[in-house]
């Protein structure tokens, strides 16, 4: 005889579908999709507003974290060991960063982050996600053909550079630590932070420009 344990089944169900957005997120999705469908508002209008705030609020927090990791080896180690814990030193913890993993680019490795299912993203450190990150095309292609996607972002990788693609989940989100650009020796963390771009921390940019 099989005994059914409703709680166990419920827990398993929730675990398997951990991408299920929160109740308010679903209420907003319902409103947004209905309003767009009925022609009350244009999707572009909503996206443009969000993008504007994405730039305004933007990824400054992530940039500070990356710059600190370049200048403070002990912090870098803590960041790589447990990013969710390490960023508490900046007071940046939030709902979406409890389980944050930092992955480092090296001379022979490049990291690229995607959320194939929806658009999980470390909002607390990178601000709003860019529109392309949420697009079906990026979500589908980043895993299947990461090098081609990177080419479209202007990143050409030699065959000697390995590409790692990280598929975000509701439980685990990723922050790419780009390589520190040459010619920045002696710079302090604040000056370095200005060089770090949002795309570099997602992995769609590799070589940061020294300005």
């Amino acid at each position: 005889m099989t005994e059914y344990d409703a709680k166990k089944i419920g827990d398993l169900h929730r675990h398997l579908h951990s991408h299920m957005p929160s109740d308010p997120a679903l209420r907003v999705k319902a409103l947004e999709s209905l309003a767009v469908e009925k022609g009350l508002v244009a999707q572009e209008t909503i996206d443009t507003w969000v993008e504007m705030y994405a730039e305004k609020v933007g990824p400054k927090r992530g940039a500070k974290i990356v710059a600190q990791s370049w200048t403070d080896p002990a912090f870098r180690q803590r960041l790589l060991d447990d990013a969710g814990q390490a960023i508490k030193e900046f007071g940046y913890e939030g709902h979406a960063t409890e389980h944050l993993k930092a992955v480092e680019n090296t001379a022979d490795t490049h990291n690229l982050v995607v959320c194939t299912l929806c658009s999980c993203y470390p909002f607390a450190v990178l601000g709003m996600s860019p529109i392309w990150y949420r697009s079906a095309a990026y979500r589908a292609r980043a895993v299947k053909e990461p090098r081609a996607v990177l080419e479209e972002f202007g990143v050409t990788l030699g065959n000697d550079i390995k590409v790692r693609v990280w598929d975000s989940t509701a439980e685990l989100r990723y922050l790419v630590i780009p390589e520190r650009p040459a010619g920045t020796e002696g710079w302090d963390a604040e000056r370095l932070a200005a060089l770090v771009t949002r795309n570099a921390m997602i992995g769609t940019e590799r070589d940061l420009q020294v300005t």
């Binding site: 579908h17 209905l34 009925k38 508002v41 705030y53 979406a96 895993v143």
Partner: protein, 116 residues
């Protein structure tokens, strides 16, 4: 918690979750399209925030945005989005999330997996 000076600005310089940004984006767009006025929005949001305060909710951004969502739902009724429509659409989204295997984008009207 009190009614903000500019009801279309986020309460802090940071959104904890994207749905919070979408609420303010939608309110802005619906006002621009003439479905309700800025005054309507300020009043509805102010009332929702007052209710949250009366209910003893914590004075946090989360409380703010939940109140903003209540206000947006209430005002969107005027634009023809009824409670029943919203409930049905929300259930559709839940269904789509449940039926979509990892590795595929979530879209509405997802067919049942493994059938056919």
């Amino acid at each position: 918690m009190h009614a903000p000076e500019d009801p279309l600005k986020p309460p802090s310089d940071h959104f904890a979750e994207p749905w919070q940004a979408t609420i303010l984006a939608m309110a802005t767009a619906l006002i621009r399209e003439g479905h309700f006025t800025l005054t309507d929005w300020a009043t509805a949001l102010g009332n929702a925030l007052a209710r949250a305060e009366t209910d003893g909710r914590p004075d946090t951004d989360e409380t703010y945005f939940l109140a903003a969502l209540d206000a947006l739902e209430q005002l969107s009724e005027r634009a023809g989005l009824t409670n029943a429509q919203r409930a049905e659409r929300k259930a559709d989204w839940e269904d789509a999330y449940l039926k979509t295997p990892h590795g595929q984008p979530v879209v509405l009207g997802q067919p049942e997996q493994g059938v056919g």
